[in-house]
C-alpha cells in the first residue's frame, strides 16, 4: 500500500544532459502562447531491432499541429475533438490533430533520425510545468512505449527514473 505512480522520471531527460538512450524532444523549453517546433530525436531502435513506426500523442492544449513529411515514411494524422475550445488566430478550434504517425520507413538501430512537427502551445497550458508528448516506438520486433509521466507532485527527477519516460518540454510564461 505504497505510493506511486504513473511513474516518475521523464524529467531525467530534461534535467540531465543528453539522455541519448531515450526518445527526447530537442527543444527543452518553450513559452506558452507561442509556436513550438517539436523535434523528436530517435537515437536507437527497440533492443537492437530497427524502428518502423513512430506514433506521437498530442497533449491537450496543443493545437495547430503540422507534421513535417519525411522521405521514405508515410505520414498519417488522427484528428478528434479537443476537450476545450481554443482561440487560434481569431478562429475557434474545437477539434484537430490528436495523433501523428510516421510509418513505412526503416530506421536502423545504428542510425539516428528526427521526426518533426510544428505546434502551437495555447496559453491554457500552465507555465513552469512540463508538457509531455507520449510516444510509441514500434520496431520490426517489439515495441517501446515512451509514455511514462510522473505523478502529480512527484516531480520526477533522478532517483525515481522511469526506464521509458515520455518526452517533455518545460513550459515558460508567455512572453
Amino acid at each position: 500500500m505504497r505510493t506511486v505512480t504513473f511513474v516518475a522520471g521523464a524529467v531525467a531527460a530534461l534535467a540531465a544532459s543528453p539522455a541519448l538512450a531515450h526518445i527526447t524532444l530537442e527543444g527543452k523549453q518553450a513559452a506558452v502562447g507561442s509556436y513550438y517546433k517539436a523535434v523528436f530525436a530517435v537515437p536507437h531502435g527497440c533492443a537492437g531491432s530497427p524502428t518502423v513506426k513512430i506514433r506521437v500523442q498530442i497533449p491537450e492544449g496543443v493545437i495547430g499541429v503540422k507534421p513535417m513529411p519525411k522521405a521514405g515514411w508515410t505520414l498519417d494524422t488522427v484528428t478528434g475533438a479537443y476537450a476545450a475550445q481554443y482561440d487560434y488566430h481569431g478562429a475557434k478550434l474545437s477539434e484537430g490533430v490528436k495523433e501523428v504517425t510516421w510509418s513505412g520507413g526503416k530506421l536502423s538501430d545504428k542510425n539516428y533520425d528526427e521526426f518533426v512537427m510544428q505546434t502551437f502551445l495555447t496559453d491554457t497550458l500552465k507555465p513552469n510545468t512540463v508538457l509531455y508528448f507520449p510516444v510509441v516506438q514500434e520496431c520490426e520486433q517489439g515495441v517501446s512505449r515512451w509514455i511514462d509521466i510522473p505523478a502529480e507532485g512527484q516531480g520526477g527527477g533522478h532517483g525515481h527514473g522511469s526506464k521509458t519516460p515520455a518526452p517533455g518540454v518545460k513550459l515558460l510564461p508567455k512572453t
Binding site: 500500500m1 505504497r2 504513473f6 512505449r145
Partner: protein
Amino acid sequence: MRLVASLAALLITVCLATTAHAHAVLIGAEPADGSVLAEAPKMVVLRFNEPVAPSAVSLLDAAGRPRDVAARAVDESVMVTVPAGLPRGTQVVSYRVVSQDGHPVAGSLLFSIGEVTGSATPSGDRVVDALIWLARLGLYVGLFAGVGGVFFAAWIGQGPAGGRLITWALKIGLAGAVASLGLQGVDLLNLPLAGILTWAAWASAAGTSLFPALLLAIAAMLIAALAWRSPSFGAAFVRTAIAMICVGLSFAVSGHAASASPQWLTRPALFIHGIGLAFWIGALAPLAALAWQRKDSLLRVLRRFSTLAVPAVALIALSGFVLGIVQVDSVRALIDTRYGNILVWKLVLVSLLLVFAALNRLVFTPMIEREFHRTRPLQRSIAVEFVLMIAILGLVASWRFTPPPRALAMSTDVPLAVHIHTDAAMFQVLIAPGRIGPNDFTLQLMNGDASPFAAKEATLTLSLPERGIQPIERSATLGPDGYWHLSKVPLPFPGRWHMQIDALVSDFKKVTLEDEFEVR
C-alpha cells in the same frame, strides 16, 4: 470389569470432543501487523480464511483518539478505509467480524506511521468475556445435568431422586442460554456490558448460527421441565427422549466443529457426543441423591446405569476422537496452540474422571453390594466426579475464545497477498507459495473504486535491491478468470523484494504501481 479398563483407555482418547468456538482466522493484513510505514495507508485490508461480515471496526490513533472508519467486506477480505490526518506513531485497528458459522472473531492490528510509539492497547472487555464463559458453562450444566438428569429419572432411576439439583440445573441452563444470546450480541457489536439492554445486541445475535442452537437448547430444557411433571411414565419417556434429541441437535447446528468439513461426519459426531454426555452427567445427581438417602433402589439403578454407561462412554469416546482428529490436525498443535493446550488439560481431567468412574464401578459399587450401609465412598467419589465434570465443561467453554488448529493450519498455506492502492488503481497481488523458489503470481487489477480495470497488457518487474538483484521483468497473461497470471517466477533469495506492475490502459497510457513484499 475388564470392560471398564478398556473403556478407560478409550475415554482417554475421547476428550477430543469440542463444542463451539470462534473460527474465522485472520491470515494476513495489509499493512502487516507491527509494520512501520513511511506514510499513512489509504486502506487497511484484513484477510481471513473464509468470507466474513464486519460487525465493528474501529481505529485508535497514536494520540489515543478513536477515529471513525468505514469497513466493507469483499470475499474473504475486509477493507477498512483509513481516515486522513493520522498522527505519527502507532495506530491500532480493532476489528470484530462474524464468520460463516456465526461466531464473532475479534482482534487488533497495529501499524506505525514513521515511528513506533508506546501505544494504547485496545480495551478487550474482560468482564464480558468472563460472563460469556460463565453463561456458556451454565448452559452446559442445564443441558447435561438438567436435561440429562430428567432423562435419567425417567428411564433409569424411575424416581424423582436428585430432583432439586436437576430443577436447579435446568433453571441455571435456561438463564445461561438467554444470557449467552444477549452476550453474543454485546460481543458482536463490541458494546459495553450495558449494551445487553439494547435491541441491537439481541437482533445481531439472532442473525448468527448460535441463535438456532440456543433455541434448541431452550426447547430441550423446557421440554425436560415439562417432562418432570409427566402424568405417566409413558409421557415421561417420550418427552425426555425429545428433550435429549434437542440437546444433540443444539450441538450439531452451531459451533465451528459443526461447520468443519466433512459435515456428514462432524454433525452426527457432535449430536452423539452431546447426547452421550447428557446421559453420563445427568446420572450423577440422581445417583448421588440415591446413595445419600440410601434408597433400596440404589443397587438396581446402579446396575442398570452401569450396563448402559459402557456403550454410552464408548460412543462419547468415538465421537470425541473423530472431532478431535478433524479439529487438531497434528500432535504438535497440542503444545503449540492454546486450543491444543486446553485439549491437553481436558485430557488430563478426563483421565482423572475415568479413574473415579472406574473406582465407582470396580470398588465402591461392589462394596455397597456387600455392605449396603457403606455408601459414603461412592457419594464422595460422585461428588468429585461432578466437580471434575464442571471443570471439564469450564475448559470446553473457554474454547470459544480460541481458534482450533484446523483453522490455524489453513493459514500457513495461504499465498502472500499484497494490496497496492493509489488514486489511480487498486491492485491485489497474490504470490503463491510466497516463499523462496518458483512462485505463481496472480494480479487482480481494479480501479480505485474496485470496479474491473481493463488493461491491454500487464508487466511485472521484480528486484531485490538489498542483494543487488536488478529488475526481473515478466509479462503476464490474461486468464479466463479475468486476472493476470505469471507462473513460476523465481524468487531466489529471502529479503524484501520490490515489485512494480505496469498495466497498459491504452497505447499511450499506462498505470504503474509499486510495492514491496517480504520473502522468507
